[in-house]
Amino acid sequence: MSGMREIFGKEVVVINVGLDLFAEELEKATVPVQRVAWRPPAQGKKKVQDLLARIKKKKGKE
């Protein structure tokens, strides 16, 4: 990470969105990581996403 500091000229903090695996690997290398808990809407279930979109669209029309 010292190379990173040279490139950016300052300490680099990584923001990790979603999967923890990337954050864990960086933390092993003592890189500071800010984790953002993110999951795909409706747990990635297309049917539920479509239902939500349908309800929201209906409201938008009124």
């Binding site: 999951r39 809407p41 409706a42 747990q43 279930k45 539920v48 239902l51 939500l52 349908r54 309800i55 669209k57 209906k58 409201k59 009124e62």
Partner: protein
């Protein structure tokens, strides 16, 4: 038709304004709508005898014996299977029952009235811990206690309540939250506050001193006595949001030991169910998860109302009973703000700078974020007659919410 945001705003306004008040005690058959001799009320969504879990079956057996409809376990089982007895959810009769939640015609019930909107709700009186009907026990010791509750506890308390006048339960719950309860699995403060209200009027009672003393000792010896008041209070509050057209707010979460069911304000009287889940908890010595029945009871009405698991930040000591660390209690409450519509104007949490408890679960938020309501609960032994074996944490199955969402889209979109 109102859009869901407008409908939900109306539902929240009604929930915020509801004022559940304890009015008195009477016999179920006299006051519970639709109650009759051959009807057994139970917790959770509708279920037939054949599909009932051990603790619910045990409680039905005990209920039939208590009611004088059967003399033995075998007679009760035959009667339950005969089709002569009707089984219906408490929630469809404006009431709630903890754990198995079994109630019969002659049982005494608390009468709670929402003075703002006029709806009335009901709940039996809490029997205490150990071998009790609500955990499926039906031995003579259990039936004898129920008879004492009918003959002594109920009339003695009813007289004191009459002398006292209505007790505002919303105020008592708000105070209990300031004192370390979340009024689902921790009711020590609520029970104490109730005793403070009622004790002076028990002194003025006309029954024998010995009986009044035993009533006080019984309530004092049971930290969960207030649960059977916090539950109908929560029911009275949530019932005020039924059945507001277009609303996506959950008004019922309940389990019968086999299935978990929810009902939604804008989907009148329809149940959306999924399998009752296994509880992750702490077990009493000698018991393990192998002994546990899946999730059971109407007590999740507290969570539906923003109490219980939703207000665990108010009750960090509860983790010694249900598991986890005090910081978990704070985090559970924080997480529940993500799936609710509002913060209670009445129920405040000191550890969160007196933020109002998360109130009004929105099925759209649950489905979109994939965050399930957090419930804390007692664990019943899977065999009838054993009783409570622990307490822990559990969530509803996601399919309840997804099925409700699908029905909502079919109805309104």
């Amino acid at each position: 038709m109102a859009d869901y945001e407008t409908a939900n705003a109306e539902a929240i306004a009604r929930i915020q304004k509801a004022q559940p008040v304890l009015k008195g005690i009477d016999v179920a058959e006299k006051v519970v709508p639709g109650m009759r001799k051959n009807l057994i009320l139970h917790a959770g969504p509708p279920i037939e005898w054949e599909k009932m879990s051990g603790p619910l079956r045990g409680a039905v057996i005990g209920g039939l014996m208590y009611e004088g409809l059967a003399k033995t376990k075998e007679e009760a089982e035959a009667l339950a299977a005969s089709g002569e007895i009707a089984f219906e959810p408490w929630h469809e009769h404006s009431g709630v029952g903890p754990m198995a939640g079994v109630a019969t015609a002659r049982m005494p019930v608390f009468i709670v009235e929402n003075e703002t909107h006029g709806n009335r709700t009901f709940c039996t009186l809490n029997e205490g811990l150990g071998k009790v009907l609500r955990y499926g026990a039906y031995s003579e010791e259990v039936l004898e206690r129920l008879r004492w509750m009918e003959a002594v506890l109920a009339p003695v308390l009813a007289e004191a309540l009459e002398k006292h006048g209505p007790i505002n339960l919303k105020t008592l719950i708000a105070q209990a939250l300031q004192m370390g309860d979340e009024v689902h699995n921790r009711n020590r403060a609520g029970t104490s506050l109730f005793i403070r209200e009622i004790a002076p009027f028990l002194l003025e009672g006309t029954s024998a001193v010995k009986e009044r003393r035993r009533v006080l000792e019984f309530i004092n010896g049971n930290d969960h006595f207030f649960l059977n008041l916090s539950m109908p209070a929560a029911k009275a509050i949530m019932q005020s949001a039924e059945w507001i057209e277009g609303s996506t707010i959950v008004t019922t979460m309940a389990r019968n030991g086999t299935e978990f069911g929810i009902r939604v304000a804008g989907l009148k009287e329809r149940w959306f169910t999924g399998p009752a889940q296994v509880i992750d908890g702490l077990f009493f010595p000698g018991y393990s998860v192998k002994d546990a029945n899946p999730d059971i009871g109407d007590s999740a009405i507290t969570e539906t109302c923003g109490l219980g698991g939703f207000s665990m930040a108010a009750a960090p000591a509860i983790v010694k009973f249900v598991g986890g660390a005090a910081s978990d209690a704070l985090n559970f409450t924080r997480k529940m703000y993500e799936i609710t519509m509002a913060e209670s104007e009445s129920f405040q949490i000191p550890a969160l700078d007196f933020r109002g408890s998360p109130t009004g679960i929105d099925i759209m938020k649950v489905c979109e974020l994939g965050i399930l309501p957090q419930i804390n609960t007692g664990i019943a032994h899977k065999e009838p007659g054993v009783g409570q074996v622990g307490a822990g944490l559990v969530n509803p199955p996601m399919e309840c919410f997804e099925r409700a969402l699908e029905a909502y889209a079919e109805t309104y979109a």
